[in-house]
Symmetry: C2
Subunit: 342 residues, 2 copies
């Protein structure tokens, strides 16, 4: 505590390099400009001397906190951990750390979380909670805080985003069921105030039309949330409605898990009596009963793309808005089979 402050110059001397080289070696954003061996020697010297760059000085110089906020609905949705890893790994390579915030889709909580992030002077925010009408986003834009949407998109094209081709994904699910011989296909749609719910419903309907089938509004049930409970409720309602169907496309895997439960409740077997397709291909669904056919999205790469986009925005707030839409693919497992012959 009373020891004299170690300076960059001390570190450079110990490592036998120019102070400018030591500075570059210790800055994550410029480390690649220095030979790996030299960088390691500088790092070792910094460790030996217990040198810690003064964050206030660095922030003053760059006017950056090297901190990015990530706003999620709920980390417990297995969709998010790999996305967060993609974000954190990429930002970490550029010297940034991640402030995590869960909103539970509650506006008050979201506002509190974002205020907390802003008071730490975050350089930008990655938002996985975007709804079509979202006052928060207006606030963030008004504050000139760089923002990137992840997983979800808005009709408003002024926000950069990293997302997945939801419509095409749902079309793939329908194509697969049609090829198996299904004609009466239901959809447990996700919430319709978010793009993942809307895009997948659109893809579901488009897939049917392309197969020459008319979407039957009575076979579409909209879930209030992307949860297992909501899936169970919606599937139970569909079964009780008495409308006949032989397959269902679920808006995501959690809704599909709920479909499994409702089918079991009703004494029906998947895929023998009803085929089910999920969306997201979340971890370990290959070991479900039955293993779930699902639309796979490249979670980690979606996170990586979001991180790259926010780094671009932080470098230049006025850069042209760029967005990336990653492809979806269908993974066929044992929850889908030809319909029972009547």
């Amino acid at each position: 505590m009373s020891s004299q402050r170690v300076t960059l110059r001390d570190v450079a001397r110990r490592a036998g390099v120019h102070p400018g080289t030591a500075s570059r070696a210790l800055n994550p954003e410029s480390r690649h400009l220095v030979k790996a061996e030299t960088a390691e020697r500088v790092r070792q010297a910094a460790d030996d001397l217990q040198f810690h760059p003064d964050p206030a000085a660095r922030s003053l110089k760059t006017r950056r906190s090297y901190t990015v906020g990530v706003l999620l609905p709920d980390l417990n949705n297995p969709l998010f951990p790999p996305i967060v890893r993609g974000i954190e790994d990429t930002l970490g390579r550029h010297g940034y750390v991640v402030l995590l915030g869960n909103t539970d889709n509650d506006e008050d909580q979201e506002r509190r979380v974002v205020e907390g992030m802003r008071s730490r002077n975050i350089d930008g925010i990655i938002v996985a909670t975007a709804r079509q009408r979202h006052p928060l986003l207006d606030t963030v834009v008004a504050a000139d805080l760089p923002v990137v949407l992840v997983n979800r998109i808005l009709d408003d094209p002024s926000f950069p985003s990293a997302s997945v081709d939801d419509q095409r994904g749902a079309e793939l699910a329908v194509d697969h069921l049609v090829q198996l011989g299904h004609r009466r296909i239901a959809h447990i749609a996700g919430p319709q105030d978010v793009s993942t719910g809307v895009g997948r419903l659109r893809g579901f309907e488009e897939g049917l039309r392309r197969a020459g089938l008319d979407p039957d509004p009575d076979l579409i049930v909209v879930a209030e949330t992307f949860t297992r409970n909501a899936g169970r409720t919606c599937m139970a309602a569909l079964l009780q409605s008495g409308r006949s169907f032989t397959a269902v496309v679920a808006g995501n895997d959690l809704l599909a898990l709920g479909c499994y439960l409702a089918l079991e409740d009703a004494g029906l077997r998947c895929p023998d009596q009803v085929s089910v397709v999920g969306f997201n291909d979340m971890p370990f669904i290959d070991q479900l009963r039955p293993p779930l056919s699902s639309v796979r999205i490249p979670h980690y790469e979606v996170g990586t793309a979001a991180a790259e986009l926010i780094l671009d925005r932080i470098s230049d707030h006025r850069a042209p808005v760029a967005s990336r839409v990653l492809p979806a693919e269908l993974v066929i497992r044992a929850s889908t089979a030809p319909p029972v012959q009547l």
Copy 2:
């Protein structure tokens, strides 16, 4: 941008309260001292005036960043999201935000992540990566940074920790299998440099002894990592060894998932030929094939306890070290059944 800075006094005037009351209402740590209705009126006034407390001023006054680092091996292990939620929800109520860092159990990466956190002046760090020998922890202690261990503990009692009674949990698993009639019980143990691996192995052996059975070293295989792949490899090795057994206690659920795969590879059925018990009761394992019996740990409450402990340490670095060990319970599903009669 050129508008005059809004002060706390302006907010107090608009809300019709004393500035001291407004200050308490806007500080998450003292909000509970103000009537809810008054606090809401102050918050509304602050919103209307777009008042943002100056974080530099607050930090200067309290010498705190109101930021806590959370160090994980890998967020993709389904054990961690609910723990992180427990931490974040609790810290959030006290005005703190969470900096998240994944280490992949790599020492270099861990050091980089912790350096990044420290240069943001975190007030404390919650560590889920603790190994028995862990140079990082010495560094953190030397820096007088408050630290709390979560999920894992050390033999060294000088670290506060929030964990689960791993030994008792494994004993419960063994008791259950013994009651079903199993006598030849194997254990796929977790890594032995971390307390979760050690405690569960100890509980496995103790459970056998209490049932009057001798632990057979040939029926204990130690996994290198807590992953599905490691579980598959260890179970395959055990099957190939030719030692007979009718049940296995897996060191965690991911190892149990690997056991399922190895049994399937070998053409064996669970629980008909081999019973399997997991550990952690991670989400959705009730829908696995077969639904996995598992030792349940109160994830969210473990996170909550860790957050409370770090808040105590931040308030008083020299407070007596407190630790909390939460109880485990067994959830019996369809992966365990009486052994086949020979």
